[in-house]
C-alpha cells in the first residue's frame, strides 16, 4: 500500500511534496562540517589542533587499506572454507569465525597484538635465525593492523558466505549438469553473481575498519585519535582536539559512502531486475 496525504483542496494524493523527500540530514551534516572547517581556518586553537592531528591521517589511511586487504584474503579463505567438503578445513574456518565474532574488539586487540603476534613471531624467529640469520619483528602499528585484519576477516568471511549462499542452488546444478567442475561453476557462475551481494556490505566494512583504526590508539600508534588524545592532554584543549578528529573522520567516512553509493548504483544499473 502506498502512503498518501491530503491536499489543500481536500483530495488525497500519493504525491509527496519536495520538502518531504528532500535529504535535510545532509544539509545539517554539511553545515556542521562547513562550520568546523571555518573554525579551523579562523580560530588559532582549532588551527593548532588541526596541525597536530592531521599528520596521523597517513597512518589511519595506511592501516585501513592494509587491514582491509589482508582481511579480504582471510575472508575469502575462511568464507569458502566454511563451505568446503573437507571436514577439517570446514571446522577450522568455522571455529575462527565464531571465536572472533564472539569477542569484543578491544580485548581481541590486546590479545592478538600483545600475546599472539609476539609469541608467533618468537616461534617463527627461532627457526628463521638458524636458517637465514634474519629476524622478523613487527612494529606496534603492524601488529595492530594485523589484529584489525584478523577481526574483520571473520566478519567479511560471513559476507562472502552469505553472498555465495544467496545464489539459488539451481545455478550450481545447471553448471554442474553442463559438465563444469565445482571450481569452474564457482568461478564462472556463482561468484560473478554473488559479487553483487558482496560488494555493498564489503564497502560498509571498509568504512567500519577506517573508524576502528581509532582503536589502534590503545597500542600507542600515532594515528588520528592518538594524536587528538596527546594534543588534548598536553594543551587541555579537549574540545578543539576531539572536534577536529571527529571532523576528519566524518569527512573520510561520508566521502567514502558517497563513492560507495555511486559504485552500487553503477552495479545495479548494469543488470537491473534479475530473473
Amino acid at each position: 500500500m502506498s502512503d498518501y496525504r491530503s491536499t489543500r483542496d481536500g483530495r488525497i494524493t500519493d504525491e509527496r511534496p519536495w520538502w518531504d523527500t528532500f535529504p535535510w540530514w545532509s544539509v545539517i551534516i554539511i553545515a556542521v562540517l562547513v562550520w568546523m572547517g571555518w573554525q579551523i581556518v579562523i580560530d588559532e586553537d582549532y588551527a593548532l589542533a588541526w596541525e597536530r592531528i592531521i599528520p596521523g591521517l597517513g597512518l589511519t589511511l595506511r592501516s585501513t587499506v592494509y587491514a582491509f586487504g589482508i582481511a579480504l584474503v582471510i575472508a575469502l579463505l575462511a568464507g569458502t572454507g566454511q563451505m568446503s567438503r573437507n571436514v577439517v578445513v570446514r571446522n577450522v574456518a568455522r571455529t575462527y569465525v565464531e571465536f572472533v565474532r564472539g569477542i569484543p574488539m578491544l580485548p581481541l586487540i590486546f590479545t592478538v597484538a600483545l600475546i599472539i603476534v609476539p609469541e608467533g613471531t618468537d616461534l617463527l624467529n627461532k627457526r628463521l635465525e638458524d636458517w637465514i640469520g634474519w629476524e622478523l619483528s613487527l612494529s606496534f602499528e603492524m601488529r595492530a593492523t594485523i589484529t584489525l585484519a584478523v577481526i574483520y576477516g571473520a566478519y567479511m568471511a560471513e559476507i562472502f558466505r552469505g553472498g555465495i549462499q544467496s545464489i539459488p542452488p539451481g545455478q550450481t546444478e545447471a553448471g554442474r549438469s553442463l559438465g563444469l567442475t565445482r571450481r569452474q561453476t564457482m568461478r564462472s557462475v556463482v561468484l560473478p553473481q554473488a559479487m553483487r551481494a558482496i560488494i555493498p556490505p564489503m564497502g560498509n566494512d571498509f568504512i567500519a575498519i577506517l573508524k576502528d583504526t581509532s582503536l589502534l590508539s590503545v597500542l600507542g600508534a600515532l594515528e588520528i585519535t592518538q594524536r587528538a588524545r596527546q594534543f588534548s592532554a598536553s594543551t587541555f584543549k579537549f574540545r578543539e582536539g576531539y572536534f577536529v578528529s571527529a571532523f576528519i573522520y566524518l569527512c573520510l567516512t561520508l566521502g567514502l559512502s558517497v563513492l560507495l553509493g555511486i559504485l552500487e548504483r553503477r552495479m545495479t544499473r548494469d543488470r537491473k531486475g534479475e530473473r
Binding site: G175, Q184, S188, R271
Partner: protein, 242 residues
C-alpha cells in the same frame, strides 16, 4: 543407454524419496515419467546424472558406471543434458554466453566453433535473434528454449527434462513442447518428467508411473492410460485425465 539398478535415495536417513528403482532406457527411446507431486519422479531423474547421489544402487549411462568412485563424473555429466523447471539460465550472461560457456570450458571449443554451434542450436529452437539478449529480457518460453539449446550445444547422448513446462504461462507451453517433440523425432534419447499427458501420448515410447518413491508401472502410454494394471495408477489417471 541408461540403466538404473536398485536405486534408492534417502534424505536425512529417514525420508525415502526413491525405493529400489530399476529402469532401463534404450538408445533413441523416449521415456516419460509421471506421478503425483512428491512421489520421487524428479529425484529418479536427478539420479541419472548424479545431481542427486543415490544412497544405494548403481547408475550406468552409455556404458560408464556413474556410481563407481573411479568414474570422472564431471566429464560424463557433459554427455547428459538437463533441462530444469526453473530454466536456471545464468542471469549475468547473455544468451550467447550462456550457451558458449560450457562448450568452451568443457568441450574446449574455440570461440568461433562455439559461436557457430550456439547459433545452430538457437535456430533449432527458433530464436536465433535473441543471442545477445539477457535471460531476463526473454519470456518464460523463450528462456526454456534457450536452456534446451544450451544443453544441446554440448551434443549430449541423453537429454533429461525435469517438468520443463510447469513454470510456464499456459500460452508458452506449446512452443517448448514442440521443440521437445522435434527432438524426440530426431531420435534423441530422452527421459521426461512432466504433467503434459498430451506430450506423453504423442512422443513417449514408454510411460513410467511412480508413486511414493516406487516405480509402480511401466508400459506403452496408451496401455498405461487406458488399461492400467495397478489400482494406484488407475486412481492417479482418474484424477488427472478428463
Amino acid at each position: 543407454m541408461i540403466r538404473l539398478t536398485g536405486v534408492s535415495k534417502t534424505f536425512d536417513r529417514t525420508i525415502h524419496a526413491v525405493k529400489d528403482a530399476d529402469l532401463e532406457v534404450a538408445e533413441g527411446e523416449v521415456v516419460v515419467i509421471v506421478g503425483p507431486s512428491g512421489s520421487g519422479k524428479s529425484t529418479v531423474l536427478r539420479c541419472i546424472n548424479l545431481l542427486e547421489v543415490p544412497t544405494t544402487g548403481t547408475v550406468v549411462v552409455d556404458g560408464y558406471t556413474l556410481t563407481d568412485a573411479a568414474t570422472d563424473l564431471d566429464h560424463l555429466r557433459a554427455e547428459v543434458g538437463m533441462v530444469f523447471q526453473q530454466f536456471n539460465l545464468f542471469p549475468h550472461l547473455t544468451v550467447l554466453e550462456n550457451i558458449t560457456l560450457a562448450q568452451r570450458m568443457v568441450r574446449g571449443r574455440s570461440k568461433e566453433e562455439a559461436r557457430a554451434m550456439t547459433m545452430r542450436q538457437l535456430e533449432r529452437v527458433g530464436i536465433p535473434d535473441k543471442a545477445d539478449s539477457f535471460p531476463r529480457q526473454l519470456s518464460g518460453g523463450q528462456q526454456q528454449r534457450v536452456a534446451i539449446a544450451r544443453s544441446l550445444a554440448m551434443e549430449p547422448k541423453v537429454m533429461l527434462f525435469d517438468e520443463p513446462t510447469s513454470a510456464l504461462d499456459p500460452e508458452m507451453v506449446k512452443e517448448v513442447l514442440d521443440v521437445m517433440l522435434e527432438l524426440a523425432t530426431e531420435g534423441m534419447t530422452m527421459v521426461v518428467v512432466t504433467h503434459e499427458m498430451g506430450f506423453a501420448k504423442a512422443a513417449a515410447d514408454r510411460l513410467v508411473f511412480i508413486d511414493e518413491g516406487e516405480i509402480v508401472e511401466v508400459g506403452p502410454p496408451e496401455e498405461v492410460f487406458t488399461n492400467p494394471s495397478h489400482e494406484r495408477t488407475r486412481a492417479f489417471f482418474d484424477k488427472i485425465l478428463y
